[in-house]
Symmetry: C2
Subunit: 671 residues, 2 copies
Amino acid sequence: MADDALVIFTPSGKRGRVAKGTAVLQAARSLGVDLDSVCGGRGICSKCQVAPGYGDFSKHGVHVAQDALSDVNAVEARYDRVRGLKPGRRLGCQACIEGDVVIDVPAESQVHKQVIRKSATERVMVMDPATRPYLVEVTQPDMHEPSGDFQRLAQALEREWGITGLGADLAVLRQLQPALRKGNWQVTAAVHDAGQGAELTGLWPGLREAPLYGLAIDLGSTTIAGHLVALDDGRVLVSSGVMNPQIRFGEDLMSRVSYVMMNPGGEVEMTRVVQDAMGTLATTLAEDAGIDPHDIMEATVVCNPVMHHLLLGIDPVELGQAPFALATSDSLNLHARDVGLTTIAPAGRCYILPLIAGHVGADAAAVALSEAPEAREELSLIVDVGTNAEIILGNSKRVLACSSPTGPAFEGAQISSGQRAAPGAIEKIRIDPLTKEPRFCIIGNDHWSDTPEFGTPQITGICGSGIIEAVAEMRMSGICDASGLIGSAAQIGSPRSQPAGRTHEYVIHDARPDGPLITVTQGDIRAIQLAKSALYAGARLLMDEMGVDAVDRVVLAGAFGAHISAKHAMVLGMIPDVPLDQVTSAGNAAGTGAQMALCSCKARRQIEAQVHKIHKIETAIEPKFQEHFVAANALPHATDPFTQLRAIAPLPDVSFNTNGSGDGRRRRKRG
Amino acid sequence: MADDALVIFTPSGKRGRVAKGTAVLQAARSLGVDLDSVCGGRGICSKCQVAPGYGDFSKHGVHVAQDALSDVNAVEARYDRVRGLKPGRRLGCQACIEGDVVIDVPAESQVHKQVIRKSATERVMVMDPATRPYLVEVTQPDMHEPSGDFQRLAQALEREWGITGLGADLAVLRQLQPALRKGNWQVTAAVHDAGQGAELTGLWPGLREAPLYGLAIDLGSTTIAGHLVALDDGRVLVSSGVMNPQIRFGEDLMSRVSYVMMNPGGEVEMTRVVQDAMGTLATTLAEDAGIDPHDIMEATVVCNPVMHHLLLGIDPVELGQAPFALATSDSLNLHARDVGLTTIAPAGRCYILPLIAGHVGADAAAVALSEAPEAREELSLIVDVGTNAEIILGNSKRVLACSSPTGPAFEGAQISSGQRAAPGAIEKIRIDPLTKEPRFCIIGNDHWSDTPEFGTPQITGICGSGIIEAVAEMRMSGICDASGLIGSAAQIGSPRSQPAGRTHEYVIHDARPDGPLITVTQGDIRAIQLAKSALYAGARLLMDEMGVDAVDRVVLAGAFGAHISAKHAMVLGMIPDVPLDQVTSAGNAAGTGAQMALCSCKARRQIEAQVHKIHKIETAIEPKFQEHFVAANALPHATDPFTQLRAIAPLPDVSFNTNGSGDGRRRRKRG
C-alpha cells in the first residue's frame, strides 16, 4: 500500500500526491489551492470547510473510498455540535487524507472569493482586500529574554502566516497588551497591506468571528454617499447618504473655491465640516448595520478634485484658474484619522483613488474602474451626471476623459419648482400631445397621478429627472419649440400655458391656495438647455478627439443616471443618438468603483495604471467646446425619436439669446 | 594635448581622469568624493566650496598649473561679491577642470561631516541625518498633460538628486502649491529617509540658506532635557530643560504606574501633559536660538520604559509587575504629531530609540550608543544615575545591562534638607577630620564657604552631589561609623552633632532664626545607604554574570554623573573600587545618544542591532541582588581610599537594621 495518496481539488482541478495523514488544508496550501483559513488550522474559524466526494470520478480517473478521509475527530465533532456543519462538509484543517480523494472547495471557502457585481454589465470581482484578519498564538513574555509584546506578535504572524516586516500603528499598540491577556495570548490581528508594507491595524482577543468591514465613500459636492461592505465577501450591508455640509459655503464647487479666495484659510473650516460629516456617516451606517464602527478597518473615497483638496485640507484655489493644477494627483494611502475620519477603527486606513486631471476627479477614475471601457471593442460613452458631468469615451484602443460644467440644474437646483430627489418630488412626467394635460409620478408613490391609487399625497416640487422629462415632454407635445420658447395658451391650445412676465410658463400642478403651484418656467428651460448643452458639448469634444461621429453605446452613471430616462435624455439632446437598447444605466458607478477599490488591491493597481493612460481634454480652454456648446442649445426632437426616423444631430439655434450664452461662458470657468 | 585631465581629491586621496571642462562637483560625484551641495550645482548654496592647490605635488606626482581650473565665472564672481568666498576657495559647481589638479575638500564642504563629540572619550561622529535639504527646479503644470504639483516635484527630486519613491505627508501637501509659486517653481525640499522610504517633510520657496534643525530629547522621570541641533554639522545651538509635569501624578515611576492602576485611563492625562511639555520645550529652545520652531524637522527621544509607554499613550501597568512586559521594544519611527509634538514642523518626524528590557530603557540604549563599551577591550562599568540607575557592564566580548531602583535620594529628594540642583544648593562639602567643621560650595558661587570671597549668599539646601559628599565626609571624619550611625557630640567631640529624636544629626549650616538649618539626619544617611546599596548590588550582579571581581574603568553618566565626585562615590561604596583616573564622567550620555541618533542614521542602525546583543539581567527577580543589596549597606571606607591602601570590597554590615532593609525590599519592586 502506497504511503501517499492522490488528491484532486475542484473546481480548480489542481492535483498532486501528498503523504497520507496530511490535513486537507495543508494539502491545499502545498498545491496552491485557494482555501481560506483565519484561525490557521485550529478548527475554530470554519473558513476551510470542504466537500469531499466519494465513489467513481471517471473524469478524474479515480475512485474515492469511503475512508479516503480520516474519521471526524473531536474538534470537528465539537464544531458540528456547537455551530453546525452542513451535511457532507468537513473542516479542511482537521480532516486528513488517507486515500485518493476528490475535494470540492465551495465558493465561500475560497480566500479570493469571486463576487458578481450587479450592474448593467455584470462583472466578476475577486476579493483581495488590503486588510485581512489572522488568528495567532503569541509567545508569552519571558523576563529573561525581554522583548516587546508587539515583537512577539509580529514573530507569530511571520511564523504562522508568513507576514514579514510588520509595523504597528500607535493606536493598536495601545490596545495590544490588554487584548493579548484577555485572549490568553491568542488574538485575531487585522493586518493592512496594500503593497507598501504590512501594518497591524486592529486586534481582538481570541477568534474574531465576524468579518472586518470597510466603507466606500462617494464624496459629492452635494451628497456624501457611503456603503458599508463586509471585507470577507464584498457584500454591501447598508448604504446611506448625507448632505455635504459644505453647501453652506457655496452650492457649487466654484462658489466654494471663491469662498476660500475671499476668506483665506476658509478651507480649514470647510475641511472640518466635511470630515465631520464623513465620520457621522460612518457611525450612522455602523448603527444601521448593527456593528461597532471601530470594526470598520478601511475606507475608500472617490470625489471630484475640489472635494479631494478640501477633504485633505488643501487650498483648492489653483483648481479655480488655468492651468487647473492639482496639488497631488496620485492615489493616497493614508491613516483615516489624517482625513479626520476618527469614528472608525483608531488605526483604520483610508485609500483615496487617483485623480485624472484638474477637472476630472477620483470619481471619474472610479467610474472608469467600474465600467472599464478599455475592456471592450465597442466605443462607450460614459456620462456621470452630477453638478459637474464627467465624461469618458473609449474602447480597447484608447480612452479619453473630460469634465463639463453642467451646473446643478440636472439635480433640480436653480429650477423654479426644483428640489432634490426626496419623497413628494415629481420624478416622472408625461404630457398628452393632444390635450397638453400632464400626468406624473412622485418619489415615494408607485402610481401615476391620473390613477385612483395615486390618492392625495403631498406634492412638493420637481427633482432632476422630473425636470428633464418635463422639458422633453413639453418639446414633444409642442408646448415649446426647438429654441425652447414656450408658446402662449392661444398658440398651443391649452390653458396649461400661462403668461409669466414677458414669457410663459407651463403649469404641472396647481394646489393653491393650500398647496404649491408647480410650473416649468422659460428660465427653467434655459437652465436645462445650458446644462444639456455643456454635457453634449463635452461628449462631442471627446468624439472630435477620437475622430468619430457616433458612439456604439452610452452608459449613464451617477445616482441621477439611475433615474434618468434615456429616451427623454435623447429628446433633449443631452447625449448623442444611439439605439435605445444601447443606453444603459450603470447606477452609482463611482460608488461601485469605490467598493471595488475597497475589496481589491488589484483594482487599485488597475486604476492607478489606467489614469495615466487616459487622455484628458480640458474643456475650459478648447475653442471647439464653445462652438459645440452654442450649437447644442436647441431641443432637437419634436417627437419621440424612436417612433420616428432617427433624428440628425442638433442644429445651431441662431435665435438663442446671447445672455444665455454669456451665462454659459461664465459657468464654463467652473471646476 | 590630452582631452582629459588627472584630478586628485584630498584628504580622501581619490583620483581619476575626467574630460576637460568637467565641473569639480561633477568630477567629485563621478569619483565618489564626499562633496556637499544643496542647490544641485546652481552656484547659490556655496556648500561645494573647494580649495585647489597649485604648483608641485611630489607626493601625488603631479604639477598643477595656474590655469588648471577655469577662470572665475560670472556666477562665482557674483557669489564672491555678495556673500564673500574665503581666499583660495572656488565653487565646485562652477570651477571646471582644465588640467591636472589637486583639489582639497575642506571639512565643512563634506556631505558626511565629521563631528568630534566632546566627551571624556572623544569620538568622531559622521553626519548622516535622516532629513536633508535639496534645492530643485520643478516643471510647471501643463493642462494638456495634467499631473499633480507633487508628482512633478517628486520627478524633479528623482531627476536631480536620485530620490525615488517619494511620499508626502498631508501637512506638506498643504504648503506645496503656495511654496512652488512663491519660489517661482524653485524650492528647497526637506526629505526624510531613515531607510523606510523617502518622505517630503518640509518645503521652502527658493533656496533655504539656514540649515534644518533637530531636537534631541532626554525624557526623564523628573526632568525633560532638550538639545536643539543643526542638522548640517551637528552643533548644539542651545540646550534647556523643564520639569516633567507628570510629577504631580507621582514623584517616581512606580507611583505613576500605581496612579494608572488606581485611575484606569489615567495614562491619557499623563500622556497629554508630557506631550505638551515636550512641545513647550521645543518652542522655548527655538525661541532661545532665534529660529522658527517649524524648521525643526525631527526629534529623537530617549527615556525609560515607563516614560516611553506614557509618552506613547500606552498603559504602563504591565511594567509594574513581573514579567515586566513591554508593549513594544523596537525603535519607533513616527510622525512627531503622533506623540503630540505639534509645535515643530507639521510633517516633522520623531525617532524613539529602542528599549533594552522592561526595566532598561531607551535612555540606557542611548548611553550604550554614546559610550560604546563593545568598542573597547577593557571592561567598562557605565552607571547612569537618575531616579533609577541604568547599569551597563561590558567589553568587546559581551555587554550586560540592568536597572536598579536607587530611588530619588541621589537627586536630593527624600533628604531632609535636600533639594534639586539649583542656585543656593550645597553641591560640594569637606569636613575637617580633626575639628569636624564643614566647608562647602553652593551652586552659582565659585568660592568655598570658608573664604572671604564666598560672601553671604542665600543657602537653600543640599543637592544630590552634595548629600553624597556629605555622607562620605562624615564617614571619613568619623562622624558616622561603618553602619552609618551618627555618633553623639560626646563621642565625636564636636557640637556639630546634635540629638534629634532618638538619634543624632550633623549640622552643616545654621542660619536660624532668619535662615535655614541645614543638617544631615540619621534618616538621610539611611536613604543614601539604600540608594547606594541598590546601585552597588546592580553592578555586582552584572559582575557575577560576567564572572569578574573587578572592572577596568567606571563611567558615571547622567546629568548627576557630571557633578558626582568619584572619590566620594567610592568612599560610600556606590561603585566598585578602580583607580581614580579610571573613573570618568560621560556627562549626559543619554542626551548625547539622542543627539547621535538625530545626526546619524548609521547610529540608529547601530543601537538597533546592539540592543539585541545586550544581555539583560532582571534585578527584581535575582535572589543574589537581595544578597548584594544587604551586603552593600555598610559605608566601607573610614578614610579616603586613595590616600590609603586600596580598600577591599565592602563587608556585610550585620548591624544594619532590618527596617531599613525592609524599606529596600519594598523599593526594589519599583520599575
